[in-house]
Amino acid sequence: MIEAVDQHLISAVQAGLPIAARPYAVIGERLGLSEQEVIERLARLRAQGLIKRWGVVVKHRQLGYRANAMIVMDVPDDRVGDVGALLSQQACVNLCYQRPRQGEVWPYNLYCMIHGKSREVVLEQWAELRHACALTAYGYEVLFSRRCFKQRGALYSLRAESSKSAQSVTGQAQPGQAVFEMHSG
């Protein structure tokens, strides 16, 4: 289980590292930790993999990458690991996950994400990928995103009192709560 100090630290950096000459000292001051301790704890969490990456989080849409497609595939179970590993090495693929099939209504078990500047570019990249990665025999669907209803703010609270979510619909973290943003389920 994650230490309380680390919870508070992740919560503090969740909103973003200050843009200042000594940003870790600023964070440390808020938490009563030394600059060195902040750095060491973050480095350890990064090395352990709990922090999957530590750095600049870009906004694709603001950067002109407005076409976002989630591609779902029906890959034989004994091939899904190999195909997933191969796809995740492709430059245009951003995420690649295995998820459970849902019977006939949704037979897909492999999900990947492609961001591009236009639908045409994304579809071209997908067509190339299908051939390059030998996926042409597998069923798939391409799901372009349309409206974005919520992009962030699912700040996960370790101390959420309960799941009675309707009582706290603002999505605002309470003071002292440890909050985490998750990018993928």
Partner: protein
């Protein structure tokens, strides 16, 4: 929009998504790596932040390392989509709530303390919306390099 970005901005956007320096003076370290002044780096990050091209410099937490999460999909009739989307977005446990072009047209990620609580949140959304939800937890993550690489030449 990208064309207006200077090379410095592009480097800052591309090169520091995985491992931002964990040193007392990270912005100065970056400045030295890129051959510019610390003030230029600080100023450029302020601009990128003000223009909302970056959401922050911070952590991305590994899925399911803290709590329990799942991708959830719902098939909602067009005329009712706005209501259901709003209902779903209001949950603090929900993020990345998107409309997608499919018969399953509402896709979101829900995160809770544990699997039981996650199930309760999704069940409540089903009850309140009146539509069933498909819960799609991650079974394997094949992606190691989660950053997003832009083409520096466009």
């Amino acid at each position: 929009m990208l064309a207006q970005l200077q090379p410095l901005h592009k480097h800052l956007l591309n090169d520091y998504q995985q491992d931002f320096p964990l040193s007392p003076t990270p912005y100065r370290d970056i400045a030295e790596q890129l051959g510019v002044s610390e003030d230029e780096v600080l100023h450029a990050f302020e601009e990128l932040s003000a223009q909302r091209m970056i959401s922050r410099i911070g952590p991305v937490i590994a899925p399911n390392s803290i709590g329990s999460s799942a991708l959830v999909a719902m098939a909602v009739p067009e005329h009712d989509l706005a209501r259901v989307a709003e209902l779903v977005s209001a949950y603090p446990e929900v993020n990345h709530n998107y409309e997608r072009e499919n018969r399953f047209n509402l896709w979101f990620v829900a995160v809770a303390d544990d699997e039981a609580q996650l199930g309760m949140v999704i069940a409540e959304i089903e009850t309140r919306s009146g539509y069933p939800a498909m819960t799609l937890p991650m079974l394997a993550d094949y992606f190691i390099n989660l950053g997003f690489e832009m083409n520096l030449h466009d």
